[in-house]
């Protein structure tokens, strides 16, 4: 009977149910299609919920085609679809019909970051009150690492601006691709996902903390690379946003 499951599973993948005839009462074709359609449409709808901006950018029909192609190449393996679509952005990048939309894959990466931040482990971020009154050298030598929800992304396109207007606005703003690259921060300090455009100096500071360096070393790196930027207010702003991992988590 293992045969039955093998044959049914193969038919779901190929769409060809003829080999199932030994197991069915009557010809399987039209009725088998209900299952095949549930499977493929279920995966495509899950992707549509996870990538609403991509769907808006390409339209429902194009999205369905792209999602179904993704399903054929990357069917789900885990037992939940909540985080299905891990490779969707990479897939979009190589998806021939989407090639003219050079920003699409990076916008998808931002949507993915939002989803991952939304479901990331709960943890208290480091708060201003936690460090207030610490001796300066103790603060300087703290290397808390990042809050587990933090995701940063870099793009050669204005991917953040494209994503944000398509996420927030009923009538999208015009974004010129000439605007150049943008970096994005997505994180969930408590229960709500936050996002904003990152400056290169912010991004450098965050990457140093992520690498396990302490606040002093990260600040020095910012001062060295961006002579016009004051590291102290940059640090305070990131701290207030809840970017760093809290002490007891």
């Amino acid at each position: 009977m293992a045969d039955f499951h093998d044959i049914f599973a193969r038919a779901l993948k190929s769409g060809d149910a003829s080999a199932l005839a030994d197991f069915t009462e009557g010809a399987p074709d039209t009725k088998f299609k209900v299952y095949r359609n549930n499977v493929v449409k279920g995966a495509a709808d899950t992707l549509g919920d996870a990538y609403p901006v991509i769907k808006r950018l390409v339209g429902e029909q194009f999205f369905q085609g792209m999602a179904r192609a993704y399903w054929a190449a990357h069917p789900p393996s885990g037992r939940t679809l909540t985080l299905y679509g891990e490779d969707f952005a990479d897939f979009i990048e190589l998806f021939e019909p989407a090639r003219p939309l050079v920003y699409l894959a990076d916008v998808a990466r931002i949507e993915r970051a939002w989803l991952e931040a939304h479901h990331a482990p709960d943890a208290l971020p480091l708060k201003l009150a936690d460090v207030k009154g610490l001796p300066p050298d103790e603060l300087a030598s703290m290397a808390p690492g990042l809050h587990p929800s933090v995701r940063t992304l870099a793009s050669d396109c204005p991917a953040f601006s494209i994503w944000r207007t398509n996420r927030e606005d009923d009538t999208v703003r015009k974004i010129s691709l000439e605007a150049g690259g943008e970096m994005t921060l997505v994180h969930r300090p408590l229960m709500e996902v936050h996002y904003r455009r990152l400056s290169p100096a912010d991004a450098l500071f965050i990457s140093r903390i992520e690498a396990g360096q302490d606040f002093a070393t990260a600040s020095n790196a910012v001062a060295d690379s961006f002579p016009g930027v004051e590291p102290a207010p940059l640090f305070i702003a990131l701290l207030k946003e809840g970017i760093f991992k809290g002490r007891d988590t």
Partner: protein, 284 residues
Amino acid sequence: MASAHPVLAPAPEMGAGIGLKPQHYRSVLESRAEGLWAEVHPENYMTAGGPRLAWLDAIRRECPLSLHGVALSLGGAVRPDRGHLNRLRALADRYQPALMSEHLAWCAHDGTYFGDLLPTPYTEAQLDRFCAHIDETQDALGRKILIENPSIYLPLKSDMTEQVFLAEAVRRTGCGLLLDVNNVFVTSWNLGQDPYSYIDGVPGEAVGEIHLAGHEQDENLGDQLLIDTHGAPVRDDVWKLYDYTIGKIGPKPTLIERDSNLPPFDQLMAERGRAQDILEAANG
């Protein structure tokens, strides 16, 4: 070995419940409806953290909860996935659900998760395997589960009816049944059988929960094939069958299942109120 697990004891206050969707978290939390309870797919809560889990914590403090699994693949060719069982157990420990259930179906094979409830032939060999999978699940969870009858679209060659298959699983494993009255209607319609005699064949004392949902006609085959979409109100034919079922087996916690085309909360609660009224009338 299965008989070592506690017997099914739905919380006595469980009347009619609703399938819980994120859009309705706040409304459920604020509702004070008599007998209300909530059911979720545990798979949607298998995340590291985040607001879904926090909402469910809050809702669990207000009303009984049912964890209705869709991904164990009990009707599959191989044993239940160990990692998935562990995650289910962790959710059960966290939320202490009044009820836990799964399906007479399979959904995963050879590394692929299909995300749909797929049919199994009702044969002796399949029954042996299905019961072994239920035993393993009940042992891993430390409690009994309810098994739901599926909607069938494609009839498979079988040695026995679905009712006999399920009754045998109940006898061998001590599991209970989640009787989906809409699925009974849809399957019976699709196979050209009588839904009322299906109900007559169900061991009523094993039923721990009832599902009600909407179905629609297949877009290609029309009324030759009904599809259990969970995307429409419960049909009058199904309400009639539900009335008959409650008359036959007594009042059981009943769920309005709605997974797509979600109506406003009040509309869902009005549908749920109809089931609540029927249950209260049956309770006398």
